[in-house]
Symmetry: C2
Subunit: 269 residues, 2 copies
Amino acid sequence: MTTEELVNQIQLKKSFLCIGLDTDLDKIPPHLLEGEDPIFEFNKAIIDATQHLCVAYKLNIAFYEAYGLKGWQALEKTMQYLNSNFPEIFTIADAKRGDIGNTSTRYARAFFEELDFDSITVAPYMGRDSIEPFLAFESRHTILLALTSNPGAFDFQTKQAEGRELYKSVLEISQTYKNAHNLMYVVGATKAEYLKEIRELVPDSFLLVPGVGAQGGSLDEVCRYGLNKNIGLLVNSSRGIIYASNGVDFASAAAEKAAELQGQMALQF
Amino acid sequence: MTTEELVNQIQLKKSFLCIGLDTDLDKIPPHLLEGEDPIFEFNKAIIDATQHLCVAYKLNIAFYEAYGLKGWQALEKTMQYLNSNFPEIFTIADAKRGDIGNTSTRYARAFFEELDFDSITVAPYMGRDSIEPFLAFESRHTILLALTSNPGAFDFQTKQAEGRELYKSVLEISQTYKNAHNLMYVVGATKAEYLKEIRELVPDSFLLVPGVGAQGGSLDEVCRYGLNKNIGLLVNSSRGIIYASNGVDFASAAAEKAAELQGQMALQF
């Protein structure tokens, strides 16, 4: 999906909501566990109930890998379902990969070609030749970790590195990479006050913003500092939406929570 | 496996060789492609031919993920084969994972419990709460990226961060993490001259050193600067060993290359 197509969807739906499918067998409604593929059945029900309210789904790959083969099967089925039925929705493999060049190419193929994701999150630590293999895929997007939502972000990301914080170096240096127009960045909602300076460095880039909801980030603050002329944000909520209810009404409860966030987002249009 | 058991194996075999099973269907001998599970068959043959010469196998997870379900099956079978037949050999999931706390726990379970690896490589960018969930597993090891072997390492890792290079901050700060005794570090063989200073910061830690062979690192230099009283090194070679021949003699050719390296290593005992 091109950035332009994503922007069109955002305008059409008056939404920049991304829903995180962090599907956990210990947390989904117990009545689903009797089925053949409870992970996929849960995802399908959440997608059917919320697809009109969001523009993106983010699948945290750890949750699928944790179940081995069964998890990969559910991941593949979920992606096939999304791409067959809702090809206009942007998909994110939240994988935080990154390795030396030929290995990054392998990961890129796995997520962009085999699984047909529109984008993948990538860790910047290994630098240019670990990231450019992802950027080489046209109409796919590489979402680089810049400033993450967790407390450990202060261990290294905010360290002064040659006169500026490391995450700012990541933003600036990555903009010199080949096909940098395919870059987006992760900035945690819990660090909304940093968004103003981030916007000065990458005014046009899309930012994927996790941490609204369960992690305590504020949508208002994220909008105040993060919006650009194309909206330029994908605000993610996972647990706050998908686990809104543990009963047979889980899908409609998720839709209600998603509608709440989409309603707040619509005020920005 | 405990560190002590690993050290015993190293002394017993007079080897600190790690063989990287970066198994690629485009590179393995064509006659294997007719079989039912060529990835596993290749791995099994390499393992059988080299297990007496090395103390560790490193499986780069990207190579398996790239083949989707089939790849995961081959990964599981390879780990079952290794753990059933050669439980004394240290196994490394070269996965370079790292995510917020509860997600890192998922990855830790996938690799330590489901797949039963002894260790996993982890990226440090997200800091303490992304790494401690891995360290919480006793007798498992978390191998943190410090200074990697690729050119992109100079983008961020060697940046001066608050008076010292970022990779040195990673070494120092990570030593304050809970269960830091379960830490090892990745230091590329192509950066052997840095090993002297690294040894001053982490004199007792095991270092996983990729980049000998195809990437151009020198075993002699790595030994000169990197050895400690317990050896303290796992030197990895992947392509240089496993693709030594593309014919029916591939396993014996791999054994020959492995024996060459082991022979050089034996001089250190």
